[in-house]
Symmetry: D2
Amino acid sequence: MIIILQQGLPAAQKANVLEQVNNIGYKVNEVETQAGDYLVAIGKKEFDIRTIGQLPGVADIFMVTDEYQLISRKWRVEPTRIDLGDGVVVGEGQFSIMAGPCSIESEQQIEQVVEHLKANNVKIMRGGVFKPRSSPYAFRGMGLDGLKMFHRICSENGIKIITEVMQVSQIEEMIDYVDVFQVGARNSQNFNLLDALGASQKPVLLKRGISGTIEELLQAAEYIFSNGNENIMLCERGIRSYEKAYRNVLDLNAVPVLKEKTHLPVIVDPSHGIGIRDYVEPMSLAAVMAGADGVIYEAHPRPEEAYSDGQQTVNFHASERLISRMRQAYALRESF
Amino acid sequence: MIIILQQGLPAAQKANVLEQVNNIGYKVNEVETQAGDYLVAIGKKEFDIRTIGQLPGVADIFMVTDEYQLISRKWRVEPTRIDLGDGVVVGEGQFSIMAGPCSIESEQQIEQVVEHLKANNVKIMRGGVFKPRSSPYAFRGMGLDGLKMFHRICSENGIKIITEVMQVSQIEEMIDYVDVFQVGARNSQNFNLLDALGASQKPVLLKRGISGTIEELLQAAEYIFSNGNENIMLCERGIRSYEKAYRNVLDLNAVPVLKEKTHLPVIVDPSHGIGIRDYVEPMSLAAVMAGADGVIYEAHPRPEEAYSDGQQTVNFHASERLISRMRQAYALRESF
Amino acid sequence: MIIILQQGLPAAQKANVLEQVNNIGYKVNEVETQAGDYLVAIGKKEFDIRTIGQLPGVADIFMVTDEYQLISRKWRVEPTRIDLGDGVVVGEGQFSIMAGPCSIESEQQIEQVVEHLKANNVKIMRGGVFKPRSSPYAFRGMGLDGLKMFHRICSENGIKIITEVMQVSQIEEMIDYVDVFQVGARNSQNFNLLDALGASQKPVLLKRGISGTIEELLQAAEYIFSNGNENIMLCERGIRSYEKAYRNVLDLNAVPVLKEKTHLPVIVDPSHGIGIRDYVEPMSLAAVMAGADGVIYEAHPRPEEAYSDGQQTVNFHASERLISRMRQAYALRESF
Amino acid sequence: MIIILQQGLPAAQKANVLEQVNNIGYKVNEVETQAGDYLVAIGKKEFDIRTIGQLPGVADIFMVTDEYQLISRKWRVEPTRIDLGDGVVVGEGQFSIMAGPCSIESEQQIEQVVEHLKANNVKIMRGGVFKPRSSPYAFRGMGLDGLKMFHRICSENGIKIITEVMQVSQIEEMIDYVDVFQVGARNSQNFNLLDALGASQKPVLLKRGISGTIEELLQAAEYIFSNGNENIMLCERGIRSYEKAYRNVLDLNAVPVLKEKTHLPVIVDPSHGIGIRDYVEPMSLAAVMAGADGVIYEAHPRPEEAYSDGQQTVNFHASERLISRMRQAYALRESF
């Protein structure tokens, strides 16, 4: 059950609502976000919701029976749109393209990507500075210095930054240089990190786990929202399967299902999804038609020289074609 | 190694070629299809293929190193197009739509579907008369009598029939009433059935196994081709996974991968793939953009009353919209 | 609902029972097996089962609510024991060992295996003469001639034969030379084959599908039983997963679960299960402790020269040790 | 390549070795653990390892070609044995039993479990105080206060504690009250946590990821070792699959494979593995025979009242029987 409180509610009135809900036998979680004050009440007993709904200070009340509540489309029908500033918005009504290298490697590399994005009117650049790697001996990214360089060049060029955060202690270090925090597949159930991102107010792109369920992804998003941050995007990035012909199985089934279950934007990562450069375009176009609100993919000036993930990274020529075709596909979808 | 023989080769010349290949230490499989005579030679020894290529009676020769040979795009670059008669062709250059109920149920049901297909210029109707069912106590289809009724109505209306064949002994019974034999996911490695369909000359739509690999699907097709039948379509129909939010995971990654590996047409079944009626449209449109040569889906006059698979079957209203949108998406893809 | 009829029931009494069950709105399946006459009635309406139970000719009646009925332990608590003749019995109360090569290759090979089995007091030999192979160009087995040779040698030595049947037409050809028909993983939902084996009266070992569920395996067994054959063994043989460190994931969880759900014997195949020779022993011993009624594994005089599956086949030295250890583990289990 | 340095090597000699390895073109990672000083050198160039092996200060040198190095059995043939103090050792040569509730709930609960363990001569108690939960609204454990109570009671009774750590900042808070840190399945690729545990010197039990590969588990262990901590146990706890008949698929195939690949102890968690109370015993016994060095399972005075995971938790009666039978099975295994 979600109880929406009136803004600026006097403490006594709020205490009264809390007491009444407790009296019914529900456990209450207080949630304050950028956009509002909510109570999430968890319990099983049936009762007339009007008894709560009519209390002073209660703006609205909804029964939600899923394991997740605040991110459910059952109470909030309007899609969430996330404003990154300077007119860059992610969510239904536009198609967001986010592109860039797997790893930030050098000033020159960033500049080349930025130039490519500007030439194609793409507003968001991806690039990792903290890299989760299976082996402790692999390249783990340029770290905070790389991020500052990344931020300097992008902010001079009106490009927003999305980059992965791997642990709680990095949030504070990174927050001034980042427009969207990315939570990687391996951290999709790192609940402490989700809690902390919920407290941070910065937009978050949350990737589905390596073999994460739809339900787990939605509950992970609920962690962030219930800690105070409504600006969440979900990202399908391929699931693990028995098939060896591709890196992962990009699961486009997730797109229409997520769009129905939640009001949050749904982004698709075809690069990690299928993991083979030549198939990024067809999978991206398929993602558009499946209903995605955006695509995040890996592009690099010279993919064959990339420090990581080169085999799934497209060059600028392919990237330019891809951007144009995705926009045409999106225009067709919008015409339906 | 594939050796293409000249048509009408005298027996002595053929025997000479066979002998020479055997001398190198390769095992030879003789293949005669609707379209040509081939030798598939399996071995590992390296040798100069010109020694075979220049023999009298040899039209051409190709080294193919995959486990599958005749269906590989490495030797046959031109896509296979399958002519069902009356101008109905499946394969690159057109987008094939196949629709109809899971099970054939009655004369009236067939007539209603046929009328719907004709109104939308769809030329191929699907419908099962032999139904593989997990439980021995479930409805197993109308059988041969149902097929004859199905065939009578369709042939009067210029509609081609695709229907599932479950065992070798049914091929002969069914062959006069069928335009395309469908091999279901549970029979995708029923090698005796594949052998027999290879000998039948009738087009075959071969579904990927319930957790079949791309490699297994291609080898299953090789069974059919190497037994004498080149008219094969491959069908992605969803794979089994841990995810419970949908029936299967429709694996659109398979589409661009199959299109690169083989010259055979690739069809997508979104109904079994995702298994939920409301998501058939987005997954079908995604399939178009991923590069599919056609879509096969379940439509029924009253899905909620269908004998089987009602939850994933669309009604005629949704079907009409779907057909129109798939054609627009295909037109866009072709414009690229 | 299972209705057990008295043996030798007059036709009129049986017709009366059928009519009464139909009147309640249940669909009735008549089942006659080696051991009894049953009616399996499928329906949802609630009623007092005593109204049927007290009818003349009804020996007993059970409500079973699973998708499978006749194989359920909910009505038949006593374990099924399958008598192969000459004192060889499979089922609770003994631990059955079945060993032999993947493929029957030669008279000498059979004789060597038979000698090995006799020396270790093993009574059942496995060996394929019809081999399901992913590639049409691979060795497909010695066929019927191989089976006749296999049978001649085994019957002279008091060894029972288990071998795979791949299609309906082979049943009649093979039946005189076989003690147990094996249904392979790829045919675990070949429903026509299951139906025909149900009519054959010969014991059947039914393997779980490549990614078959427990539920599907049980329903496949129900096909056989409901067609008239009670002599069924179930076989866990590994499921497909994302893990590449072994061929399959031998799923020993299936053993205690199957033992609770059904009265049929449960056999484990560690050779296909893990697919690596060195690990056959630990997985076999684990299978014993998990509660298996037997193990079927691949042994060959010279595994490195085997026509198929050599990498998972043990030699006689390892086989002898394995047999001894399994028997010790079984003795310990029995002592609990 | 692993270079084992002599203990107490003068800085100049070490610098010389580093320089020589760098000169060959290998990247060097310096590793100092409780037990020794190592250099892990990563590179592909072939060279005569004796040129390094004979340098002053080099005790030994090994080529290891796996992605993991320090945990490989290719260089360290002797099994790792982890001494928890007071004669409690984990590793080959003994069979370790770890039991206790999913969640620490109360003083009385801890005391009851401790009494049960002492009565059965079990030396290690499991129990969570920080609980990873899919939903943000679920019980998340008693936290640090719970741990202190847990530690007080156990230390008075000579029982060692294993409990889960979820984030870097908890390590310091928890370290004085813990004997073994457990890394849960959801954190198995939380690389920052692994790094920090590597620096902590406290023994670590590392669980396989929810759909983690053997390779990933081994590389995660390499993170810990290469950061300075050799005291690592690996834990198989079930993998995610399509099967709905049990919570996870306890993958006992991992046991013999891990035992061959690494010198680290291998522990099995049957409770999370199969997730159903009644099957914990057969799976535990199977784990023993598969070669496990220990079992960790959930036991509670009243499982039906447990705060979490009650359905997979055994009561003390079942626990007592299980302990006795596991020890008998282990004795049999050791007799082989």
